[in-house]
């Protein structure tokens, strides 16, 4: 059709699709969150049971206006991780973002970057957010690299915020405002 721009589906990037979470996602969800390489830079520190995994996949009313997705590859339809926009404030039009590619074999393949772009685009264009924020361990260089690449700015550094693996770690506050998302 001439003159009509093809619309990108709001759930789709170039490599990944975001879809709703299902109870059937429980087995690999549980694996992801029991893999230390995956969770060492997350807030988690205790092993997670299947019952807990099932609960995490249910909508959590405590987080109010909140939305969680499973990230799957466009090519194979393989579930590889999860991402959410949570603790959203309607008045401030802000939300917190969390992401993990739980399938380690997919790291450094561009999926994290693409999932981040897709979820931020969704946040701004579909949820009408003004601000997206995340917290990241200052020593999680891979993640920081990804966030900076898509436009997040480092807004601060919480000193000795988390104790894990025997030492305190600083965390960075990173923020992205409407209009700042850098497309690939």
């Amino acid at each position: 059709m001439e003159g009509v721009k093809p619309m990108r589906a709001p759930f789709e990037g170039k490599l990944v699709r975001l879809r709703a979470r299902e109870p059937e996602d429980e087995p690999y969800h549980n694996q992801w969150f029991n893999a230390w390489d995956v969770v060492r830079y997350l807030g988690r520190r205790y092993p997670i049971s299947h019952a807990q995994s099932r609960k995490m996949l249910e909508p959590d009313p405590r987080y109010g206006w909140s939305i969680g997705f499973i990230i799957e590859t466009l090519l194979e339809g393989d579930p590889i991780g999860q991402v959410f926009l949570g603790s959203a404030s309607a008045e401030d039009r802000s939300a917190e973002l969390g992401i993990s590619i739980g399938d380690k074999s997919r790291w450094d393949g561009g999926y994290g970057t693409d999932a981040m772009r897709t979820v931020c685009r969704f946040g701004f264009d579909m949820m009408h957010l003004h601000r997206i924020e995340l917290g990241v361990y200052a020593d999680n260089e891979r993640a920081v690299h990804v966030y900076e690449r898509i436009g997040f700015r480092t807004e601060g550094r919480r000193r000795e915020m988390y104790f894990k693996e025997g030492v305190y770690h600083d965390t960075l506050i990173m923020g992205l405002l409407e209009g700042e998302l850098v497309d690939g």
Binding site: R45, D92, S94, E155, G156, R157, E160, Y168, I173, L177
Partner: protein, 181 residues
Amino acid sequence: MQSPYEGRLIRLRAREREDEALLYQWFNDPEVTEFLSMRYPLSHAQERAFIESASEISYGKASFAVETLADSRLIGGVGLERTSPENRSAVLGIALGDKTYWDSGYGTDTMRAICRFGFEMMNLHRIELEVFEENRRAIAVYERVGFAVEGCRRDAQFKFGRYTNSLVMGLLEGELIGHKE
């Protein structure tokens, strides 16, 4: 021994039902809440529920009423919440609701008392707070007792028709200033 509940001007005590009338008055006063996240009018029922939920002080919810040492008058509230035992961290909130006591040193004294309590009685390592960037009075107080500005969350809140920034400030064990006699 210096009481862990007392500063030079104020005392920290548990919250009581009788505090409700003053809390209702304070937190419906836009001058008091200008730099707080609250924006809707609060009911007596909400204030009662708040006091009920806060009246048993514990590690997980260390919420206090602030009263003057001189005449035991209730002037505000302060608390350490979202406490993490593994990280030994907590988030601090303070509001002196009685405006007639502002700019007379009570806020500074309250901050020193609650931080000393957090470090010496709760064994915290880190105390964090967040403050609207335009709340210069509060920032002056926090810096005076040793808090460092660790970050600026851009456009973090919307109130009075515009977005404003908020500062994240942190204080670690050993950094509290001016709490010793």
